[in-house]
Amino acid sequence: MEIEKLTALEIREGIIRGDFSCEELVKKLYKRIKVVDKDINAYLTLCEEKALEDARKVDEKVKNKKILGKLAGVPIAIKDNICTDEIKTTCASKMLEDFIPPYNASVIKKLKEEDAIIIGKTNMDEFSMGGSTENSAFKITKNPHDLERVPGGSSGGSAAAVASGIAVLSLGSDTGGSIRQPAAFCGVIGLKPTYGLVSRFGLVSFASSLDQIGPITKSVKDCALCLDVVAGYDPKDNTSSKSQETISYLEGIDAGVRGMKIVLPEELLSQDINVEIKNAIEESAKKFKELGAEVEYIPLSVFNRGLSSYYIISSAEASSNLGRYDGIRYGYRTKEFKDVYELMVKSRSEAFGEEVKRRIMFGTLVLSSNYYDDYYKKALKFRGNLSREFKKIFEGYDLILSPVTLDFPSKIGEKKSNSLEMNFGDVYTSNVNLAGLPAISIPCGKSTNGLPIGIQIIGDHFSERKILRAAEAFLGGAKV
């Protein structure tokens, strides 16, 4: 069996049929990881012993003809900002370098209940702040399609692991594009669910009103399967949505896009965007037309602005969420301190990376009394207005297509010295988070030098079904 080619659905079926045992599969995977990850650096922590133990349990279940979970035997990589009981969870930060959570995130619990096998924790930008995974305190992850380029971020490790066949499926988190952008850069599928669809309990918070956990996969059906498992109301997360779906996301996924009304931003045509990416998007629009959808270019001002608001809101929340890291109860503690204040200040200053400190400062600034009204409050109003605008669009249309990024992944180390000056194109992904909408990134082409290009499909709140249908139709059921 070529582990790197199998999807989750295929693995589950294979195990049930007896084509291979779970233990075999997992052993093979770790063998592959030891070779491949030397180059990719996707993983920060591997849990081989535990994974094999869990694999053996699955095999027992098969032997005893017990009912197997939806993800039975599927090796899954977890972004290192999702808490795993007894397994180090670092958020790629020196601050949590030796932090071992005493509990599982709710999504982890759900995965385990469905017999998934947790393979390891993946690299990321520190505390999810960044777009290249270069902000990790520990490793640089490489893009499997070009080892000199970044895999994107902040879920770079998760995307690279799936893309290089050293995880079948992975979980990432997305606050302003952190699942979709690396998925696009690595040529895999990445879904950011509707805000509230997936529980955040156990996800180390960056920006509480924007964060969502989502799947990164090789096939759209795997994405739907994973969503079946991780989605749903969690009483431990007050922001998780009660509007429950009891029908599988796989139901009707092959129904196609005939009759769907799809729009693209007219602004795309004159935008400062890499021409290869632009062409790929335009070709994709044509493909949707061929598949039977009604496709139009309309002015979509929702993508004209919003990056500053995203920055203000996410930094503000982050500055508050990261206050708890002070060396007192857990986490990095500075060696020498004469009093409690020094303990706190030095621990924080020594253990947080540049980007994290910058965002904490910016967030603190915009929440401070002299700036609150003109910046934070205004950004909130902007957000309210943006949501209203999106709502209007979805009254008349089913889906929005857009680029994921305006350019290809940068070369490692080439990162702009001032990363606060974000790529304007990030507004395509971050405005989706501001409005709490679901969106998927799927591969839609390649550049002349083999770099993947991603296209984003955005839907109205809780329209994951529509999005998955469209994605499946576009890819023709193929795996990437």
Binding site: P102, Y330, V345
Partner: protein, 94 residues
């Protein structure tokens, strides 16, 4: 919009972070840039957005029933300094 370096110094004290002088200077300039960008983007009329109008509210709350996290050793495993059952820190003068 002009931010002074003194303001940034106050902010760093608020955020319990220390920086070198040149880092603070750079931050001051960077933040100014972002805020100015935000100001110029501001051609929208946002008067009618009422932030106290909530689209999601909650009227069902958690039942008042005790649950014990039994494994206290595990709970405090990541704490660097425990003295018996308390967390120890350098003496605070209040």
């Amino acid at each position: 919009m002009k931010i002074t370096i003194d303001e940034i110094k106050k902010i760093s004290s608020c955020a319990k972070l220390i920086f070198k002088e040149d880092e603070l200077e750079k931050m001051t300039r960077d933040f100014e840039k972002i805020l100015n960008n935000f100001d110029t983007n501001d051609s929208l009329n946002l008067e009618d957005i009422n932030l106290d109008n909530f689209d999601r509210v909650n009227s069902e709350f958690r039942k008042d029933e005790i649950e014990v996290f039994k494994d206290k050793k595990k709970l405090f495993r990541n704490t660097k300094s425990m003295r018996e059952e308390n967390i120890e820190v350098p003496k605070l003068i209040e």
